[in-house]
């Protein structure tokens, strides 16, 4: 009977943890999605924020583009040091700034392609998340390989900003879809392991915030990689 109770409580703790993880993930997606849509579909807002008086890129654009990186580093560094309130503020600022950055896709791609790609990404993400949660296969080695590929892709993407090769871009996007669907399964398995550690209180909240952000950024990158493959250009 007590074994049954322990099992019941562990399952309950896992459910509470994942509910919190998904709340953070969908919260971040909602904040980013609304801001991206509002700014990206309103050329006045977009121009005021991102285009300088001389027609070039404004200073605000660079702030919006680079600040999410600094905030993400601050969140990862501060997860054991900052209070939950500080982490939540950083989380909201990160989601909002990512939304402003993502508004550029509404200028570059037709709305129909963005909506279609969003649903394709959601399906692929959901499938891989389910696979990662339910599989008995240890994905640790697979995850390490994917992280190496991700670093290679970051370097290749930065190089391609200068070389501007369409074929190279296509190859990077294909690898991106593979890497981010794979990392989704891997990360879900890792989160499942964390949820079974019996976390509670603020520690559980902090871990679920980080978990939610991890799933959020994996989804965004899967969506962007697919958009570059499936999306036409305006």
């Amino acid at each position: 009977m007590s074994e049954y109770n322990n099992h019941y409580h562990a399952a309950d703790a896992t459910r509470v943890f994942f509910r919190s993880v998904y709340t953070y993930m969908f919260g971040a997606l909602a904040i980013s999605g609304i801001l991206a849509y509002v700014v990206g579909t309103n050329l006045d807002y977009f121009a005021k924020l991102f285009i300088a008086a001389d027609g070039g890129i404004s200073f605000t654009f660079w702030v919006v583009i680079f600040s999410p990186l600094l905030i993400s580093i601050a969140i990862q560094w501060g997860v054991e040091r900052f209070s939950m309130g500080t982490l939540t503020l950083l989380f909201i600022a990160y989601s909002a700034l990512m939304g402003l950055s993502l508004s550029t896709i509404f200028i570059a791609f037709p709305m129909g392609d963005i909506i279609r790609t969003f649903f394709v990404s959601a399906g692929a993400f959901g499938g891989m998340a389910f696979l990662g949660y339910t599989t008995k296969v240890d994905l640790t080695k697979f995850g390490s390989l994917l992280y190496m590929l991700l670093i290679g892709m970051i370097i290749a993407s930065i190089v391609n900003m200068f070389t501007k090769s369409g074929e190279f871009d296509f190859i990077i996007s294909c690898i991106g879809v593979f890497v981010f669907t794979g990392l989704t399964a891997y990360q879900m398995q890792q989160l499942k392991a964390v949820s079974q550690q019996g976390l509670s209180g603020e520690r559980m909240q902090k871990m679920s915030l980080i978990g939610g952000l991890q799933l959020y950024i994996l989804f965004i990158n899967l969506f962007l990689s697919l958009l570059r493959l499936l999306g036409g250009r305006d």
Partner: protein, 40 residues
């Protein structure tokens, strides 16, 4: 985030940097979109 059977420091470092690495890749992709597709 802790690993299941992961005891290699390098792997743990990359795991704990998922958000930062993912953000860096997002920004590189958006940089390409802005440079090539919009202003290119």
């Amino acid at each position: 985030m802790g690993g299941q059977s992961n005891d290699k420091k390098g792997d743990t470092f990359f795991e704990s940097s998922t958000v930062a690495l993912g953000t860096l890749y997002t920004l590189a992709l958006l940089g390409i979109i802005v440079y090539i597709l919009i202003w290119g």
